[in-house]
């Protein structure tokens, strides 16, 4: 299963290294990581998407992360009301004749053409994971020449904050 975990950390050098080192040596499988500074410049926010077999595994992972002195707060937000976004840039093969067709495809997904060349074009798409997967499937037939994805970043929605406090009682 996939879980989305957000972590607030001190914005210091080496902290990301501590996190990923911990994941690697405890054999946790990371799908994606995004990192950026928050509204407070001394604090960074990391969003991890991880693949695990069980909730016990997620719990153990969170507890291990929590032991890091530079970790301020951790949340598994998978089951909460959240906004999650990923950005992908896809360069696909596109002859001048195909451009129109691709543009209309892109429009349905609210993707934008950000670069156009003789035999290819680059599209930018943002959205949740499924939307991006679906879009990539769709443009595959044109031939994907290059694909860059940022990984998921996420925040809680302002309304409907989850009240499920029974989970992970040890840490939160």
């Amino acid at each position: 299963m996939k879980r989305t975990i957000t972590v607030l950390v001190n914005n210091k050098s080496g902290v990301l290294n501590r996190m990923t080192g911990l994941f690697a040596r405890r054999q946790y499988n990371i799908d994606s990581i995004t990192v950026g500074v928050t509204e407070n410049p001394t604090i960074s926010r990391m969003t991890f998407v991880v693949i695990v077999d069980s909730m016990e595994n997620v719990e153990q992972m969170i507890k291990q992360l929590h032991k890091q002195v530079d970790v301020l707060k951790i949340k598994d937000i998978t089951d909460e009301a959240i906004v999650e976004r990923e950005l992908a840039l896809v360069r696909i093969g596109a002859t001048p004749q195909q451009r129109g067709e691709i543009a209309s495809l892109a429009e349905t997904f609210r993707a934008q053409a950000v670069d156009i060349g003789k035999e290819s074009m680059t599209l930018q798409i943002t959205g949740n994971n499924e939307k991006i997967e679906a879009f990539i499937e769709l443009v595959k037939p044109y031939g994907i020449q290059e694909l860059a994805r940022t990984g998921v970043t996420a925040v809680n929605r302002s309304s409907k904050i989850s009240t499920d406090t029974s989970r992970l009682t040890l840490i939160n």
Binding site: V9, N10, G14, N17, R18, G21, L22, R25, E56, E59, Q60, K63, Q64, H66, K67, Q68, V69, D70, V71, L72, L170, I171
Partner: protein
């Protein structure tokens, strides 16, 4: 800036003004932390600090190898419960302490390790004697720091000590670039520690304690499993009171020995791979297992699918990440063992009748004790350990190295008090025992300290006999000489078709002459009838002694839970 009230004292005010070099700041900070002794080894990058040690006349113990220094600091930490402090130079000096840092991490020993580093402007250029200690020690420290500015030095030392001792203790490393140790700064030690991300839970949750007590009321076959967490929390008294009050049998982990008196009827001995039959069967048959301060190490549990199959498990630990890590736990209690036990003692009520269980457990103890067979004049290592216990009446600190002798000591020496037993449990570090004994003797000059080592392990750090000679420390080195890497030989015999690949010593050094070279008295014995006299002579001598005991070469450690099996299928249980 927030200042504590003490900041108003004249002494503090004076300190606050002081302009010092980085080295001075470091040493003033160490003094403020109450550090009494430093174990270390100098070198280029740490020279300014050593110059300061010279000027201040600080108590510094010079090892002959950095590994000796750090294991000695570990031994000191284990006995005093205060952080062991180790200072070494950059590069090779620093990498030489890596094993000790990993060892302290696994066994939760409070340590502050200071490594010199090349100057900030050349960090990352593969400068002379540069090693990335932050990177190397990230996975084996509780936390590590590299000082980048003189202004953060004092506060970092303060944080390092705070992290090392609080919560689950552990090693903290401070990497100190040479230029910073020479720069001028202000020594300000008044700022309180402010680490918002680091807030260990000390007080257990009341509801969880209640749950534990409720479950306890129904338990017919309760067992306490006790690990080093109880010793770190200094909770032996509470533990003993709790076990006695409810008459619960107590199994101990290798590192938990001494947390509960070894002579008590309720004491089952060590559990695990080379644990007693009674301890392991009690775990296997238990319906309610309370683990206090042990991390369910695989050497303890055996195959997890066979571990305590009938038990509801409660786990009390200061480190939440240990709860549920290896074994599913029904009742988690995060907190300090002392606090938890005090709450359990207070909140107690009636409990289920379990006389039958107690009888069963003591029958196991009676019917399947630890055993060995005598063999004429050949000294059996088990008997050696028993005799060491008798001669000292248990009034000694015992350290061991790693191997068969370690297991025999854990089995046959009875630890009746806390902080008398030092061994490398989690990492299983050969070369640990002898230098750890040095640290222990420095911490506790009044008690006899026995360093029980293997003939192989001793050869990894024997150069530290220099310290014994220099300080005339009365450590008694007991070499259990079986002319082999005994534990390796045992496994080769059992699991590798008796192919003894590089585990037998065809020739050995003359240990007595080595001792002589360091001006240390030596005693050698190879006949059972002479053993008592040799031990007596060793213990009677006021200075250090190396006692070499030639024991049966092919003796094995039994009983044993073989890898992949459970506690119920022990090999070599024998008597009945």
């Amino acid at each position: 800036m927030i200042h504590s009230n003490e900041a108003a004292t004249p002494q503090a005010a004076e300190n606050k003004q002081a302009v010092c070099t980085g080295s001075e700041i470091l040493l003033k900070a160490l003094a403020s932390e109450g550090v009494e002794v430093i174990f270390g080894y100098p070198g280029g990058a740490i020279l300014p600090t050593y110059d300061e040690i010279y000027k201040l006349g600080m108590n510094h113990i010079l090892a002959r190898h950095e590994q000796g220094a750090i294991h000695a600091a570990e031994g000191y930490a284990r006995i005093t419960q205060k952080p062991g402090v180790c200072i070494v130079t950059s590069g090779p000096g620093a990498t030489n302490v890596v094993t000790g840092i990993a060892d302290a991490m696994m066994d939760s020993l409070p340590m502050v390790v200071i490594t010199g580093q090349v100057a900030t402007k050349v960090i990352g250029t593969d400068a002379f004697q540069e090693a990335d200690m932050l990177g190397i020690t990230m996975p084996i420290t509780k936390h590590n720091f590299q000082i980048r500015s003189i202004d953060e030095l004092a506060q970092t030392v303060k944080e390092a000590f705070h992290i090392a001792v609080s919560g689950r203790p552990g090693p903290v490393l401070i990497d100190l670039p040479k230029d910073i140790s020479e720069k001028l700064g202000i020594f300000d030690y008044e700022e309180p520690v402010h680490l918002p991300g680091y807030q260990p839970t000390v007080k257990p949750n009341k509801q969880q304690i209640r749950k534990l007590l409720d479950k306890f009321k129904e338990a017919k076959r309760p067992v306490l499993l006790v690990g080093a967490g109880v010793l770190h929390a200094q909770a032996s008294e509470e533990l003993t009171a709790f076990a006695r009050k409810f008459q619960i049998p107590v199994a101990q982990t290798l590192l938990g020995l001494g947390a509960f008196p070894g002579e008590e009827e309720l004491h089952l001995g060590m559990a695990g791979m080379h644990g007693t039959y009674a301890a392991n069967m009690a775990l296997h048959k238990s319906d309610f297992l309370i683990n206090i301060g042990s991390r369910f190490d695989d050497r303890l549990t055996g195959a997890l699918e066979h571990f305590a199959p009938e038990a509801c498990i409660a786990h009390i630990d200061i480190d939440p990440a240990e709860i549920g890590k290896n074994v599913h736990v029904e009742i988690p209690v995060v907190g300090d063992a002392k606090e938890a036990l005090a709450m359990l003692l207070k909140g107690s009520g009636a409990i289920a009748e379990h006389d039958e269980w107690r009888k069963q457990v003591s029958d196991w103890k009676r019917d399947y004790p630890l055993w060995f067979h005598r063999d004429g004049e050949v000294i059996k290592p088990q008997e050696l350990i028993q005799k060491l216990y008798e001669h000292t009446k248990g009034e000694a600190i015992v350290t061991t190295d790693v191997g068969q002798h370690q297991m025999w000591t854990a089995q046959h020496f009875k630890f009746n008090k806390p902080n008398r037993w030092i061994t490398s449990g989690g990492l299983g570090t050969m070369g640990f025992g002898f230098p750890a004994a040095i640290g222990a003797q420095i911490a506790e000059p009044e008690l006899p300290v026995l360093a029980i080592t293997g003939d192989a392990g001793f050869q990894m750090t024997l150069q530290e006999m220099s310290i014994l000679q220099e300080l005339d420390l009365p450590v008694k080195i007991v070499i259990v000489n079986n002319a082999s890497l005994g534990m390796v030989r045992q496994w080769q015999q059992r699991f590798h078709g008796e192919r003894y690949s590089h585990s037998l010593f065809p020739i050995q050094p003359n240990f007595a002459k080595l001792a002589e070279a360091y001006n240390i008295k030596a005693v050698k014995v190879d006949k059972l009838s002479m053993l008592d006299e040799a031990i007596a002579e060793t213990l009677a001598h006021s200075g250090p002694v190396l006692l070499e005991v030639c024991v049966a070469k092919e003796e094995n450690v039994y009983p044993m839970v073989c890898p992949g099996t459970g506690h119920h299928c022990m090999e070599g249980v024998e008597p009945s």
